[in-house]
């Protein structure tokens, strides 16, 4: 199971937690795994990127066109990371925008989300656009949008990781008071691609 999974998002969206959880699940499933994380300055509301490599891939960096899966918690960040994708890449993206400071200050414009999605879908057939933030709110916390997207990933059966194994991983790795909401968010994500 050699796969390169790229995670992108905005600082504070739980991108690192999502890649860590997936990494734990991959290891639990019996595969070798590498998870790369971004720490430090980039976390102060900037772009955050991490990756999970499975099945013996050793490099924690994804080159142009080499991602098998792109998981994004923010639509503009999906666009920014598109150069990692090829025509076969599965793209799982949240559709809820987070305006960067440059937009809030009126220095730059945020593109229409529908334009973003049309642009992506026209070029990448395996695109799943999910309102992960709303589903996460439904589960109890908007912060679980990352888990909704992981639910979708597991639901699409791209990886050899069962739903049960992932649920077990969430129970082991998420802080007790957030487990219930996260499990619900996972389930909603799973169903969104069913």
């Amino acid at each position: 199971m050699k796969k390169r999974i790229c995670f992108v998002g905005v600082g504070g969206q739980g991108t690192l937690l999502a890649s860590r959880l997936l990494g734990e699940a991959v290891m639990k499933a019996g595969y070798d795994v590498r998870v790369s994380e971004v720490h430090g300055m980039a976390q102060r509301g900037g772009v955050v990127e991490s990756s999970v490599m499975t099945g013996g891939i050793k490099a924690p960096v994804i080159s142009k066109g080499m991602a098998d899966v792109l998981i994004s918690t923010e639509p503009v960040e999906t666009l920014r990371a598109l150069d990692r994708c090829n025509i076969k890449t599965t793209i799982i993206t949240n559709i809820a925008p987070i305006e960067p400071m440059t937009v809030k200050l009126g220095l730059q414009k945020y593109p229409e989300v529908s334009d973003i999605l049309d642009f992506i879908k026209d070029r990448f057939q395996n695109t799943y656009a999910i309102d992960a933030t709303s589903l996460a709110k439904e589960a109890g916390t908007s912060k679980a949008a990352n888990i909704v997207l992981l639910g979708a990933l597991i639901g699409l059966n791209i990886l050899d990781i069962s739903k049960e194994l992932f649920i077990e991983t969430i129970k082991e790795r998420v802080k007790p008071k957030f487990i219930e909401a996260n499990l619900k968010a996972f389930e909603l994500g799973l169903n969104s691609v069913a």
Binding site: E24, G56, G65, M66, I87, M101, Q108, P111
Partner: protein
């Protein structure tokens, strides 16, 4: 806590930095000290956490800077206690004064120095290659490729250090520090709490010229021994067969292995992976060069190995072509892109690398930039705005002011709407450079430095400014923590984290006063009117003044005292 688990054989998904901590524990480290810095911070954070939860396991301190941390740990190792210090690459510049003589006097118990380089400058002001420090100080160096190796090499580094009685360097890069991978736990040694004993011997430990001349010779003999070990270490390995040779170290070895896998070319390519990377196993490299027709050296940053390997080939009068950064096959800039390595190796073999089909995305909607920024509610925001307002009320244009800045979250004052960061070199440079600007120009100078950075490197330039009558306003942004690197305590800390209450608080205003600064004000940046008034007075004064703008980092406050704002 997972890292101190007694469960032998446990498999855990650890960061490279965490794996180093586990390795140090398994090696029985007892005394550790560090100043935080990305990408090394999680080593210190975990050691700190362990020292508060399980003080019987080890002593750890956040020292005021890397030089102090290295002195603390060097003395501990001289007194027979295994010790470790860790720092980011530029931190070793600060500690280099210690390093280059510590190698002469050496240690008694094992001592490990971790330096974390940052190719591409994810969180740094330069991308210097610290492998040159191993060469300069004549110290052995390991470079791990993954977390399991990071743990194993840490243990090996302690053992080598103790055998040779010199400190050993472990050099990581961002991609080895911040990658998670499975790590198998070994046993933790039983701890017999006891004090070490320093054996007085001024012919060993006091490098006056007559002693230093002897110790330099001793050091070079130790380096010879380390080179012999490098010939036999399990961390230097050869894999594959064929006419193409690849020599790689650190994370670059992962790129090389992946590339050969991807091209299915292990019958055409021979890979020499170096783990004990200084001193080089010259014999092993010579034998490798003899078996191949062409060689590609894959390494992050500078052509460090490449140049040494070329020297080995030259000494043996070999004409095997050796490619790498020196020949511009790879760039000395930033990080290596794995795809480049695939294409280079494919080219050497003479095949086309399989290519993915990539759609045209050139005409995508314009993407707004998303630079990191100061948090909403951050006290630094308030301070910057107060300075702006005070300048306006004083009738001084910001264009006529120089704002030297320093290393920390507040470097983000560079960005709009603040635009108040004009000059930066390194930790503490805000103070020293303000002195220079005050001599060289008639411009108004308002400098910014954080509390932790002030303790690290701000004090001696402030004494200098007092003594030499320099005129500028220094603003100490005192948020009571080392925020940027993850809220490590510093001597000025007001909100003590659990387990830290017995430390002594050092007040910045006491230091500033003791430096001889006459004009000092302490403000709360959230009290806007008072803050603006204080800045106006100090700006109009036109003498050396210090304003301490004191309010805790909001994230840190939330962490320590809970959700209340």
């Amino acid at each position: 806590m997972e890292l101190i688990s007694q469960e032998v054989g446990k498999k855990s998904l650890l960061l490279g930095n965490e794996a180093i901590v586990r390795g140090a524990l398994e090696a029985g480290v007892e005394i550790c000290a560090a100043y935080p810095g990305t990408p090394s911070s999680e080593i210190a954070n975990n050691l700190f956490f362990i020292s508060t939860k399980a003080p019987e396991l080890l002593y750890f301190e956040f020292s005021t800077n890397e030089k102090v941390a290295m002195e603390v740990t060097a003395a501990a190792a001289a007194a027979g206690k295994r010790s470790l210090t860790c720092m980011k690459h530029v931190g070793l510049n600060v500690a280099s004064d210690v390093l280059n003589t510590l190698s002469y006097v050496g240690v008694k118990a094992g001592m490990v120095i971790v330096t974390a380089d940052d190719p591409f400058m994810h969180s740094s002001q330069n991308e210097q290659d610290n492998r040159y420090y191993a060469k300069m100080a004549s110290l052995p160096m390991f470079e791990p490729t993954n977390p399991q190796e990071a743990k194993d090499m840490t243990i090996a580094a302690f053992e080598l250090s103790e055998r040779l009685e010199v400190p050993v360097i472990i050099r990581t890069t961002t991609r080895t520090s911040h990658v998670r991978g499975p790590v198998i736990f070994g046993p933790l040694p039983e701890k017999k709490p006891s004090k070490g004993r320093f054996q007085r011997d001024n012919k060993r430990w006091v490098p006056v010229p007559a002693v230093a001349r002897i110790r330099h010779k001793v050091l070079l003999e130790k380096l010879e021994k380390a080179a012999m070990e490098a010939e036999n270490t399990p961390f230097n390995t050869v894999k594959g067969s064929g006419d193409i040779g690849v020599i790689a170290t650190g994370i670059a070895a992962c790129y090389a292995e992946d590339a050969i896998d991807f091209l299915n070319a292990w019958d055409k390519v021979r890979l020499l992976k170096l783990g004990l990377t200084y001193p080089q196993p010259r014999r092993m490299i010579f034998e490798f060069l003899r078996k191949v027709g062409r060689v590609l050296v894959v390494e992050e940053l500078e052509p460090f190995q490449e140049e040494i390997i070329k020297g080995i080939a030259q000494d043996a009068a070999m004409d095997v072509p050796i490619y790498g950064k020196g020949t511009k096959h790879l760039s000395r800039l930033y990080e290596i892109d794995p795809l480049e390595v695939i294409e280079l190796i494919a080219e050497l073999i003479g095949i086309d690398a399989p290519k993915e089909q990539i759609p045209d995305i050139s005409n995508m909607p314009e993407i707004p930039q998303r630079p990191p920024s100061l948090c909403t509610g951050c006290p630094h925001r308030e301070t910057y705005m107060a300075v702006k307002e005070a300048l306006k009320e004083c009738g001084i244009s910001e264009e006529d002011v120089i704002f030297p800045t320093d290393i920390g979250c507040y470097t983000l004052g560079l960005l709009p709407p603040f635009n108040m960061a004009d000059y930066l070199l390194c930790m503490g440079s805000s103070v020293g450079s303000s002195a220079g600007f005050s001599i060289a120009t008639d411009q108004k100078i308002i400098a910014f430095i954080g509390d932790s950075t002030f303790f690290h490197s701000g004090i001696s330039p402030l004494v200098n400014a007092v003594h030499n009558n320099h005129k500028f306003l220094l603003v100490v942004l005192d948020n009571s923590t080392t925020a940027m690197t993850g809220h490590q305590p510093n001597p000025g800390i007001e909100l003590m984290p659990p387990g830290y209450e017995n430390h002594t608080r050092v007040l910045i205003e006491d230091i500033v006063r003791a430096c001889g600064v006459k004009h000092i004000k302490i403000i709360d940046p959230y009290k806007k009117d008072e803050a603006i008034k204080a800045f106006k007075e100090m700006i109009e004064l036109d003498e050396l003044g210090v304003i301490i703008s004191r309010a805790p980092c909001i994230l840190y406050k939330r962490k320590v005292i809970g959700g209340k704002k």
